[in-house]
Amino acid sequence: MAYDKDLLGAIAVTRVGLGARGDEIAQASADPQGWLLAQIRPGGADLFRTDMPSVPERLAEYRQIQLARRQTQMSPGTATQAPAPDVVQEVRRLIRENAGQDILNRLQLAAATDAPFRERWALFWANHFTVSGVKGITANLIGPFEQEAIRPRVFGRFEDLLVASSSHPAMLLYLDQAQSIGPDSPAAARAGRNGRHVGLNENLAREILELHTVGVEAGYSQADVTEFARAMTGWSVGAEREGEDHEGRFVFRDNSHEPGDRVIMGRRYEDGGYDQARAVMRDLAASPHTAHHLAAKIARHFVADDPPPSLTARLAGAYMDSRGDLSVVARSLIRAPETWAAQAQKFKTPYEFMVSSWRAAGTSPGEIARVAPVMASMGMRTFAAPSPKGWPDDTASWAAPDGIIKRMAWSETFSTAAVGERDPVTLAQNALGARLSPLAAKTIARAETRAEGLSILLMSPEFQRR
């Protein structure tokens, strides 16, 4: 690393962290790598808040509303397909109160944390295991999913993270695993006698292979997907009739599990109930394809849309050598020379842009009703990624003309409210350190008002990138 500590400090804070808050760059510049390494901890990432309603509580409340809705629909004189307005209102209230609060808590954590690499690392894994709030109740379960399944394990073994994600009610419901039943299982036979047709749903099995672990390059077949889906039958979410200890929680239902051995990607897995899919996940986590898939994605997120192959190889090597220890992978990323390239090559997503703006201004979002529509207008409706693939983080996706217009408009509104009596030149030096270009510095210094100066900072090419 040939550059001076000031530039390295600025890179650590803006590229690997979440953007400078206060004198963070000055703090990090003494030992940029050490500043990042110190944020890794075995206990995982921070939780954004711990006193919110649990998954079972949220599901139970939703069930009550659904019940009321069905009763409304069945009562005479309401032949309409649409649910009664008060039911819609109730579900919206539930989502607003829970999911809205979850999003706000998460944003406030990002805006204020003094361990921003740890938070970025957590956000990366939350996006990797995307649960999107685009259907039914799932929006309401994303906060608990992230806090229960993801955050505690982001510096642990990937296999544990994979199993925790794949067995969390939010994921089981989002990707339809909860209702997948082995066609030759006792549960299917019983349903058949009652005239109901039940069977496999391969949605989660496919996305675990394609998105969460080995990736499509691994060359698995449709038969592998179906076999894995059979192995996963029984992984579900407890229903009301299963009692309070199980309702809304992960359950393995032996009577829904497809009997028999399975062959997946050339390996045979003996029937062992829950352990069958668990064994598949162990092998998936240990696969070099998974190592490469994850390494390439980490390199793309942290360094460049088209990252140096040497960095991907280095991270994949760290993954394989440590048997999937994500703290080792994180350390490898921090120590890799490629991570510290002088040129900022990543264009911020709207989430990253807004979080780094709050940090630069030393503020924090106060009302979700104000923030959510702004982020949606920039194309990133929080907790509502367009697919299980999660949000993209490449320049081509985000640097579209309308996105820039929206960022500019919000920068003006935000700066007017946030700048106070502060000097935008000082804010710029704090926010970008050695990354601040002479042109941007000069333009900010010439601003007509403090608010205009802060707007220019937030919209400067170097602030838009990391």
Partner: protein, 433 residues
Amino acid sequence: MTNIPLGFGPLSRRQIFARSLALGITLEFAGTQVFADPLAAKRKLVVIICRGGQDGLSVSPPVGDSAYAALRGPIAIPGFGEPGGALKLDETFGLHPALAATHALAIKGEARIAPAIATPDRERSHFEAQDVLENGGTVAYGAASGWLNRALTAMNTRSGGATSGVKAISVAATAPLILRGPVETASWSPGGGPEPDHRLPGILQDLYANDPVLGPALATGLATQGMAKEASAMVQSELAAGPSEPDMMSGSSPPPQAPRQGAADARKLGMTLAAFMTVPDGKQVAAVSVENFDTHANQGSSQGQLATRLAYLDAFIDGLHTGLGPAWADTVVVTATEFGRTARVNGTRGTDHGTASTALVLGGALSRGGIIGDWPTLQPASLYEKRDTAPTLDMRGLFKGVLRDHLGVDRAALDTLVFPESARIAPLARITA
């Protein structure tokens, strides 16, 4: 709602677009084309990408196929004339009952189906297949640009060089692959345009002078604001007679279920797209995304989850048809999805990722005729890999036919530039009149 920055105020045009986010519908516009032929300059193309793997066997249920009802079980669309039954097209095919406006167009010969169409991709992965659908190649991630953008390049070249005025715009904050590429694309969505007297846009243009990404993006974004005002004003006046509606947008999530409201919004969105295409110097080519067709569970039959999505699609098409007015006669609309779904209902009253699906081809410029491509039937021996509708038509052939006959892109460009290495895929003949 009054304190939200960006002016998400009570203006209905803004609601339309804000709601379009909630509906999972986004618009992308492309191309102000200058043609040597003045008639050709009026021709319009709209590509609607139905994301998530749209179930062709529900869009155009082959209720006359003897295998259909048994394969589909509880999610089969009932036959012609039955309650909730398919809307008849011919002895074999109908349209889903939610597609009433589309059916009315079909009766007039202005809508047809291609019931067994597919991209070249056979992996059944949403992301790979959408990538292939949009990049126009044969493998996922094989190109960083989209075929619609490259088609603009071809039109541009033919009509006499890079200055002939081809411009592209997406009405969404993000850039879809189908429109990415060498032709600079604009984008627009409501709210948050800069006030004309503000200094910031000018300051940033100077600051971005040497930035290869931000410079062009900002310039295009600013230029688009003017056209947006015009298009919005048109819809505003068209809707002025209609009833005003309560503001539904707040918080971060769409209303869980509001099918009728959703359909009304989708119709307005179609009208807005029409306005963008009919203002002076308007857009000739547009792409639209309709999402959430991934119906793995409880997809429903005549009513239900998929029916709601199809009702939105139908309302959007209806709005587009209405808004285009006389320009509908010069328009072709194609719907496409990344893959169809399994022929058999799965264990959770849904369907899993399949292969061939249905494309709808609509417009006043359409030639009359029956189904587009062959129907392989749903007999067990005919199913692809014993599970899916077998593809009989490569989607590129349909797109090539439309681009050649409707928009005048020549065969050589289609075979190499627009759809690389596709010489063996012939443009489908006689799609347009």
